[in-house]
């Protein structure tokens, strides 16, 4: 018996080398995976900046689209995107946060709610083209909004709603039960508890999730193409029923032109879009950090 034990422990000691080698190999593999992703990102960024940076100028931001590349700019696209987001942000926030609070605080936890919940999570994974088709059928044709800011804004709201609902639900669920009990224990009604305890506590989470969802709406192209947003617009919209173009549409249009200069303009447009997205994501991170340290 003792003999067997000695042989066993010797064997175990002898295997340490092999185990450590495996340890190193796995660490290396993970490192390579990370490195590969990073290199791809850097190459992409380098190409875009090298190509687009020379075309970035005040004029580029100030000019409308043009057939002559040296006069073409993204004014209509930037203003159009701002108009669209002015529709998306309130619509998606109100419906998204409202649904999240209903599902978490009011709805009974039964089979129907679980089924709705599952479908919302699934919707978050539906391709954006499908939302484009939905928008085309309902907002453009049925409601007769045409290819307007309103139609595109509502379509984008639908696209980001599931993400906002899920993120807000998580934020609402994270509100400690003890705080809600404290409020109810003082004779507060459900609405008072929600408005004075639940929402203030959940706001950082809701804001972070919503901003990330909005930045997705800014970058999406497919739904806009399906809804029929024009690419060549040489005027500014004056209301939500006007036609418009958006940043990703303008970029898409330039990349499909044969002339090399337009490709460079597209790269410059991408830089502008990236700056906007990075700014939005930074705000989300800032909000998260600010409230985490509370």
């Amino acid at each position: 018996m003792e003999n067997v034990d000695r042989i066993k422990s010797e064997e175990m000691i002898n295997r340490i080398d092999g185990r450590l080698t495996k340890n190193k190999i796995v660490k290396g593999l993970f490192f390579i995976a990370t490195l590969f992703t990073l290199i791809m990102l850097v190459v992409l960024l380098y190409r875009i900046i090298a190509q687009g940076a020379p075309y970035l100028s005040w004029d580029f931001l100030q000019n409308f689209a043009s057939r002559r590349p040296e006069q073409a700019g993204i004014k209509a696209a930037v203003i159009g995107t701002i108009w669209m987001m002015a529709v998306v942000v309130p619509t998606a926030a109100i419906f998204g946060v409202g649904s999240a609070i209903y599902l978490e605080e009011y709805a009974k936890k039964n089979t129907l709610t679980r089924w709705i919940q599952m479908n919302i999570s699934n919707l978050a994974g539906v391709p954006s083209v499908v939302f484009g088709l939905l928008g085309l059928t309902i907002f453009v044709r049925l409601f007769g909004f045409g290819n307007s800011i309103l139609a595109a804004g509502f379509t984008m709201s639908l696209l980001v709603l599931p993400v906002i609902i899920v993120a807000s639900q998580e934020a609402v669920r994270a509100v400690p039960n003890e705080l809600k009990e404290a409020s109810y224990g003082l004779g507060a009604t459900k609405w008072q508890t929600i408005s004075r305890v639940v929402i203030p506590y959940a706001i950082p989470g809701i804001a972070t999730g919503s901003i990330l969802a909005f930045s997705r709406a800014i970058g999406e192209t497919a739904p806009l193409i399906v809804v029929g947003i024009p690419t060549f617009v040489a005027f500014l919209p004056s209301g939500v029923f006007d036609s418009f173009t958006a940043l990703p549409m303008q970029i898409y249009n330039w990349t499909s032109r044969p002339q090399e200069e337009f490709h460079n303009l597209a790269a410059a447009g991408i830089i502008v879009l990236l700056v906007v997205l990075i700014m939005m994501n930074s705000v989300a991170v800032w909000i998260r950090n600010r409230y985490q340290s509370r």
């Binding site: 705080l179 809600k180 009990e181 109810y184 003082l186 004779g187 507060a188 004075r196 506590y201």
Partner: protein, 269 residues
């Protein structure tokens, strides 16, 4: 067990002749789904006394105290029958709004649970939800409540600072002050000292003795010595039933039921 002995017969007579009931529980049964958590509870709780509820984990003592202000409604799948009368009004009656019940009956929880707001705002919260906006009334109530909870001297220079900066014991006293701000009739305490150190526990116990002059207090506790120290009457719960309910001295010195004796002498639980 050493007790601050009051002659139990005298005490008993006093209880019978002078006291007014705040709560009268008649044949209360409660189920969590299929689990029968409270079985035919009959308890009369007196005004301006400290009533302790003791018993081992899972005996239903917390469930019972949460039923008294209907916090139990927040748990899905709870069914009850029987009645609880608070000042001769059935708390399960539809015309008795739970918001009113909880305004009259305050609650202090197991873990201190101040809101992530300032000390001042924590106390003002209760007034504001009841529509009191007058700054002067709020300011006076904040000071009065903090004094009432023996916290004013410690925090008077920083009432606009976050409540999370207070120690655990101070936070629990802040929660008591938050209750007092609404001038409740009854204060329910669900193991209020179980998350606190011995010094903070002692302060809360002293405070309970003070509060007894004005309020009726019902306290659930794990700690039998605590029940013996601070309560006038004690109910011993076991497996969802009230085994024995009597003057505290009687429960601890000459319990009628052998199970009570076993529990208080530490043979189980």
């Amino acid at each position: 067990m050493v007790l601050t002995a009051v002659n139990s017969k005298e005490n008993n007579q006093k209880v019978q002749t002078e006291n007014v009931l705040v709560y009268n529980t008649k044949g209360l049964n409660l189920w969590y789904g299929d689990h029968h958590a409270l079985k035919n509870i009959n308890l009369k709780i007196n005004e301006k006394e400290v009533t302790a509820i003791i018993g081992p984990s899972g005996c239903g003592k917390s469930t019972y105290i949460k039923t008294l202000n209907r916090m139990i409604d927040l748990v899905p799948g709870v069914k009850t029958n029987g009645s609880i009368e608070y000042r001769e009004r059935d708390i399960f009656n539809k015309d008795f709004f739970v918001e009113e019940l909880r305004t009259r009956v305050g609650m202090v929880f197991q873990k201190p649970n101040p809101f992530p707001k300032s000390i001042y705002e924590n106390i003002a919260f209760g007034l504001k939800i009841h529509g009191i906006k007058n700054k002067q009334i709020i300011n006076e109530t904040v000071e009065k409540s903090l004094r009432g909870a023996a916290l004013w001297e410690e925090v008077k220079d920083r009432i606009h600072e976050p409540a999370y900066g207070l120690s655990g014991g101070q936070q629990q006293r802040l929660c008591i002050a938050r209750c007092l701000a609404l001038e409740p009739d009854v204060i329910l305490m669900d193991e209020p000292t179980s998350a606190l150190d011995p010094v903070s526990t002692l302060k809360i116990e002293e405070l309970i003795q003070e509060l007894k002059q004005q309020y009726s207090i019902i306290i659930v506790t794990h700690n039998m010595q605590q029940a013996a120290r601070i309560s006038d009457r004690t109910a011993f719960f076991l497996n969802g039933e009230v085994v024995e309910y009597d003057v505290t001295d009687t429960i601890f010195n000459s319990p009628a039921d052998s199970r009570t004796d076993d529990y208080i002498s530490g043979r189980f639980g």
